[in-house]
Symmetry: C2
């Protein structure tokens, strides 16, 4: 089905154009026309794929979260067999933080989307979608750490998971603003984990 491949390629090209704009000048005020120009296609061609800026953002976000999941999975695979929960949590949060260009771009698109979602209930539902899965994954790791005696038995796995997600988000903002260097963000993450894990 060569037609289908073409469509996917075209969507990919459009998403990449959107990311370049997000990185260089942000999506505030960027129109479908701007994205079409950046992708080197006509507005009509772009509208064949995406009827609105929000549709395009939802697609770009889906792509980003797929790429991020793939990067985390690869990173965890590179660890020794059966890695300790502390390592899994560290590597996963490190992959979320904007420590390299790819992750920085992904974070900028996510923030552009987040800001729109604040004022649109339908978009908000999408923005919140990934969080329960991430929270459940982190809580599972905390539970595993407790079972191994590496985390105090009186911790609440669900609260610890949400704290880690909030911390990852806060460190992301401050790294994007150059308040924290990538190295400092990692050091702060380690300081937090050091307090969560008793050994």
């Amino acid at each position: 089905m060569p037609k289908r491949v073409d469509h996917e390629e075209r969507r990919g090209t459009i998403a990449e154009a959107l990311w370049r704009i997000a990185c260089e000048r942000g999506l505030d005020g960027a129109s479908l026309r701007d994205v079409a120009a950046e992708a080197g296609i006509s507005l009509g061609q772009l509208q064949h794929y995406f009827a609105s800026k929000d549709e395009m953002l939802v697609f770009a976000l889906g792509h980003i979260s797929e790429l991020a999941t793939r990067r985390v999975t690869e990173r965890l695979r590179a660890l020794p067999a059966a890695p300790a929960p502390r390592e899994v949590l560290r590597e996963t949060v490190a992959e979320i933080l904007p420590l390299d260009e790819a992750s920085r771009t992904g974070n900028l698109v996510q923030i552009a989307y987040f800001v729109r979602a604040l004022h649109d209930e339908r978009l908000r539902a999408h923005a919140k979608e990934g969080i329960p899965a991430l929270r459940a994954f982190f809580a599972g790791q905390v539970r595993e750490g407790m079972a191994r005696g590496e985390i105090a038995a009186d911790r609440d796995p669900d609260a610890e998971a949400m704290l880690l997600i909030a911390l990852a988000d806060g460190l992301t903002s401050h790294t994007l603003l150059d308040v924290c260097s990538p190295e400092e963000a990692l050091r702060l993450l380690d300081a937090h984990l050091e307090r969560l894990f008793t050994r």
Copy 2:
């Protein structure tokens, strides 16, 4: 000097119009003309005070941070004389979190500004301005906690301060998105402080 009072009043009216727009639909795409219409003045009148959207945002941010500082100060004054560092930290972060409408509005304007600052070095300098002062204030409280034997002596006050700021920011995003309720955000803050303070 009645003229001066008029000017300040007018600036205040404009800032309030900007806040209403930020709250209702965000500043993404909101023009000077939109803000003038919301404030019930002409575009020309508005431009007498602010030549650009960014100038207006800088002013609105300054106002917000003044109001926030005043709220924190009042809140700390309401505590018993010489409050413990733990209480000071809790009350200050609680005042930053979007737990009520005023603070929610302030946070929305700050986020709109933050997103623009990501792509503009000059604005970024402004956005980062308040952080060293807040960080120094938090680090001072942590040091005080250590001196009182309430925080383990091996903690790094500066790192703990930045962790608290990052956590406050992350909890803010998740409260604005309705991932956390205001009550849950407070509970998570308490869980974090519970681990920082040994007694």
